[in-house]
């Protein structure tokens, strides 16, 4: 640690760095303000109401619960997560159906590859409810809904699903 500062910075450099420090503090204050506004906003508790979403493919069967995967067509992680859930089969979900809720897609999405294997159906969140009303933002998460529409739990995109229950 022998490289001691050779000289003090010029008054101009001091002033510039003070401005930069002030801007950094403003950015931090901005983050805090956004966080507080987001935190105190009233969000709806997610509840499955089929009438709020556009049905692109009807559910194949009825079950005690349905896992809806928040799916964005351009997201490779979503495809990987969906493929993983399909491969594991219904037993890993305690018999729950598996469906897809297409989110953040302003235009009506095209038919989903392998949709015939999705017994929970394919739905399009045309009103942006998932993001703007429920406050959810992570693609690939699965929302488990009971047959009466109640939210049972949310399974994160990196969360293990083996023997996880409905």
């Amino acid at each position: 640690m022998s490289d001691r500062a050779p000289a003090a910075p010029s008054p101009f450099a001091v002033a510039i760095n003070r401005v930069a420090l002030f801007v950094s503090l403003l950015v931090l204050a901005g983050i805090a303000a956004f966080w507080w506004s987001d935190r105190t906003r009233h969000w709806e508790t997610p509840r499955w109401d089929a009438s709020r979403f556009a049905c692109l493919r009807a559910p194949g069967r009825a079950a005690a619960a349905t896992w809806m995967v928040a799916f964005q067509p351009d997201c490779p992680h979503c495809r990987a997560r969906l493929a993983d859930l399909l491969r594991r089969g219904a037993t890993s979900r305690a018999g729950a159906c598996l469906g897809v809720l297409i989110v953040d897609s302003p235009r009506r999405p095209e038919a989903l590859e392998g949709a015939e294997r999705l017994d929970g159906g394919v739905w399009w969140d045309s009103l942006g409810i998932w993001r703007s009303r429920w406050g959810h933002r992570v693609y690939g998460e699965a929302l488990s809904f009971a047959d009466d529409g109640r939210l049972l739990r949310v399974i994160g995109p990196a969360q293990a699903v083996d023997a996880a229950g409905p």
């Binding site: 001691r4 500062a5 950094s24 931090l28 959810h136 949310v154 399974i155 994160g156 995109p157 990196a158």
Partner: protein, 198 residues
């Protein structure tokens, strides 16, 4: 004229000394690359499942960029107080002490057979030893353990040597910067994830 020449001479010698620090770079670069390549090959890096191990160089570049940004931040902080921080040595020292991060990853992987993490691991690594954290702030502060504190102490010592400030003042500055930066990170993650499970 003589004074100007003298200044230039001093600056040149200082620059040469500063650039000599770069000779220490291969060590942290190798440590970061080995750790990231191992994680990518093992598929344990959640953000890049199934990625080519050669992509570890991207992670190494990110580590160097992060150390540069941190050195730049402290340079700005000291310059605002009328003191100068030599950038290249500072960046190199940050990169050297950041080798504690690959070490943490290695320690975290020791005996991770699904059982609860032992106390020594929790003390060393913080909550990250216990598995994934839920929520932005929990994720931001999950690495607060003995190794993170050791990193702060080492950096505070280096900063005190360069700035001429007392060890206590340097430690207070580093701890405050760590706290504020992690609060900001927690807030950003909370905004990014919203009410989703992570």
């Amino acid at each position: 004229m003589d004074r100007a020449a003298g200044r230039i001479g001093t600056k040149g010698a200082g620059d040469a000394r500063a650039w000599r620090w770069l000779l220490a770079l291969p060590l942290p670069v190798l440590a970061w690359h080995t750790s990231l390549a191992h994680e990518l090959a093992a598929g344990t890096l959640a953000s890049a499942p199934g990625a080519d191990p050669a992509a570890a160089w991207v992670g190494v570049a990110a580590a160097i960029a992060s150390a540069s940004a941190e050195a730049g931040f402290y340079g700005m902080l000291l310059a605002a107080c009328g003191r100068r921080l030599p950038f290249v040595p500072a960046m190199t020292v940050i990169l050297l002490i950041s080798m504690l991060e690959p070490a943490s990853t290695w320690i975290a992987s020791l005996g991770s057979g699904g059982a609860a993490a032992p106390l020594w691991k929790l003390l060393l690594l913080g909550a990250r030893a216990a598995g994934p954290s839920h929520g932005g702030f929990a994720a931001a502060f999950r690495s607060l353990g003995i190794l993170a504190i050791a990193r702060m102490l080492l950096w505070a010592r280096a900063l005190a040597a360069w700035s001429g400030a007392s060890g206590r003042a340097s430690l207070a500055l580093v701890a405050a910067a760590w706290l504020v930066s992690h609060l900001a990170l927690g807030g950003l993650l909370a905004l990014l994830w919203g009410r989703s499970a992570t």
